[in-house]
Symmetry: C2
Subunit: 420 residues, 2 copies
């Protein structure tokens, strides 16, 4: 009997290392051709499955697939598209089964965050609920580091490194200029509901007094007066103040500091504009000259500054997903387990998807200093190994030589189209 084929899709916001997971998965699957036939990737994520728009990854050279390891963003396209419950979205699940059956797909690998874990769980239940045999394995990915049951999420380490390095560099810049020019610099970073990314800014400091002087976490209610007093204190003490602010900073009553009012496909509010809001407060109340930066996608796409640890873990979770599938698992997420020793070590593990889906892993309070503006040694101990090591892409002509795939579509087998 011919082996079953696999379906792989990237979901939600991309990262600088999600393609490294794709690389680990495809390279590993290619080593087990007797058990796994072709790996089809959904063009633009799960909607590629719904549309029967499958990319035949067997058409890519070994070299191109190897290049995925050092190429940021989603090489097959990703999407923000959440499948609802079986009751609400029955037509979508039926369509998935139709497409999977047409392409003889027995493995479903879904590479994403919390919402995707939920979708993956539902797909894993298709065997039972709709009598279609499939093994669904979730591969964690999120810059937000907010998945439970895994020590950390691939994608986070690199954005953390980007934020730490950018904070360090911008801090040196402001320190140079503060005597006559900018005194307050605010860097707005991602992290909708959890302050992991903002916390990483704290790694820029090696000794007391180093920037950042204030970190604003979504977990700590924002208090305008305390913030302004903190800025003033830093400027008086050091001559300048560097602030790292999470996009998710909110007042005690839950209002976001800067609410753009837009809502994305998952129903989350689209945030932006915390930095200019804070800058305006500083200007109005303290009169200091300020600058601010909003790194936005730059931070999560910065493969040029990826964490080696993160790249290795991203690759490993892709590889482990295939291995778990070969062992017959279903409805699990690959996890990263931290070793117990003093020296950082890690290995991959697994967790049941039922326990993962729709649960968020917040920054523990004891990672934040008592005043709410900094990170503790405990946080530092957790975060430091995740940004360790460099893993540079190759360059040509001064810019990284990122892989370009052929992205050949598998021939369609179904007459029926499905609109998404």
């Amino acid at each position: 009997m011919a082996p079953k084929n696999a379906f792989y899709a990237q979901s939600g916001g991309v990262t600088s290392v999600i393609n490294a997971s794709a690389c680990g998965l495809i390279e590993t699957a290619r080593k087990h051709r007797k058990q796994i036939g072709k790996v089809f990737a959904g063009r633009n994520g799960i909607i590629g499955a719904l549309r029967e728009d499958l990319i035949d990854t067997s058409k890519e050279t070994a070299r191109a697939i190897a290049g995925l390891r050092s190429t940021p963003a989603g090489a097959f396209g990703s999407c923000r598209y959440k499948l609802k419950s079986l009751e609400e979205s029955r037509a979508e699940y039926m369509r998935l089964i139709e497409v999977f059956r047409a392409h003889d797909i027995g493995y479903f690998f879904y590479n994403g965050g919390g919402d995707s874990a939920d979708t993956c769980l539902k797909v894993s239940q298709l065997s039972e609920s709709l009598n279609y045999p499939i093994q669904a394995i979730h591969i964690p990915k999120t810059v937000d580091n907010d998945l439970p049951l895994t020590d950390n999420c691939p994608g986070f380490g690199s954005v953390a490194k980007y934020v730490a390095v950018s904070t360090l560099e911008a801090g040196l810049d402001v320190a140079s200029m503060c005597e006559t020019s900018t005194k307050v610099f605010i860097l707005e970073v991602m992290g909708r509901h959890a302050g992991w990314i903002a916390a990483a800014g704290g790694l820029a400091a090696r000794v007391a007094g180093d920037p950042p002087h204030l970190i604003l976490f979504p977990e700590i209610a924002f208090d305008r007066e305390r913030f302004l007093r903190g800025v003033e204190r830093a400027v008086k003490r050091h001559g300048y103040c560097v602030v790292v602010a999470s996009e998710g900073v909110q007042y005690a009553d839950g209002r976001f500091l800067a609410d753009a009012g837009t809502i994305d496909a998952f129903g989350h509010k689209q945030l932006g504009g915390v930095a200019p809001t804070l800058a305006a407060m500083v200007k109005e109340s303290l009169g200091y000259k300020y600058h601010w930066a909003l790194a936005d996608y730059l931070q999560r796409a910065a493969r040029h500054l990826a964490s080696k640890t993160d790249v290795e873990q991203a690759y490993a979770v892709g590889k482990a997903a295939v291995e778990l599938a070969l062992e017959g698992r279903n409805a699990v997420m690959v996890t990263i387990e931290r070793g117990k020793g003093k020296r950082y070590s890690w290995s991959t593990g697994e967790a049941p998807l039922a326990r993962v889906a729709n649960s968020e892993h917040k920054l523990p309070r004891n990672f934040i200093t008592r005043d709410g503006f900094g990170i503790t040694d405990k946080a530092r101990e957790y975060l430091s190994p995740l940004i360790a090591g460099e893993d540079y892409p190759s360059y040509s002509g001064g810019i990284p030589d990122y892989t370009r795939l052929r992205l050949v579509s598998a021939p369609r087998k179904l007459k029926k189209r499905f609109r998404v």
Copy 2:
């Protein structure tokens, strides 16, 4: 007779390689102890001289000075402080002479942009005008690449590389997500009056259709309708649109697109907010989902992504400044000369300061495509070698191990204080 000492100062906005110039200068001076005594650095630039706040660089180890080569920002502090004409600021020039005499300073090295070249010229004339013998040499530095008479300015190549790489990476991110999410991404970059930095974004594209799809230059009058049509065309053709916008984009009548209204110490308007302004236009007229980034200081401090060519040139102009001084020159700026051959080559040269001061080098019109939204092959040919090569700092604990100097003050010799 004891050799004369040297004074060195960093001026204006810092760059990721201005310390490489300091490194070249100090290392070279240390090789000529018979002709140059100590190198004193102004703490926070020229105001360090006025305040008699001099850093004795001889107190720094060879290793610390070598580390300057890979440390961003201004290690001695910089300032935005412009000396006016001899007539208007006579007290300041008299004070400089007083400090220089007290510390036996015969060489004045000024590391900055156009405004600093002007100050350097005035100092060079002190021999004649106020009978104080001094040789003043200007060392070019500006991310804006707007100094005349030099092929390019140290500092520019690295910010250009940062913008090209960031555009490439963010472009891949948006391409991955555009099917269901963000369709327009706008990166705002520096470059007040000249579009050199924005032009560098164009280097992200290797083949036709690659991002950026639109570059907005200060040299091309902004036309809202043409911009929106360009965005729409890119989204229809490619599924998404990446825009690189200079902070200096302006309407035909000279109004800046986003004028923050603040004015810096040189009397320049402080800009910011072009990206959100453009994003609002896109949303209002086309309704596309957008994201935008404002790299601000991150781009000019990004030593982690410096151009090797830029680092080497920055070092070389510092070294050449000392060599020119030893040859008896005064009132000159070190320049970078491009070789004539097909293959890129460069060497240092010199230009009379009188021809440099207060003149700006704009992006030639033939570097911009006819439609005003892209760069030509001629631009590409000029820009490409400037971002070539990587020059990574060493890392420890996941972040760059940037040099920390001791910054020991030279004992004051004057009783009189001078307030600046």
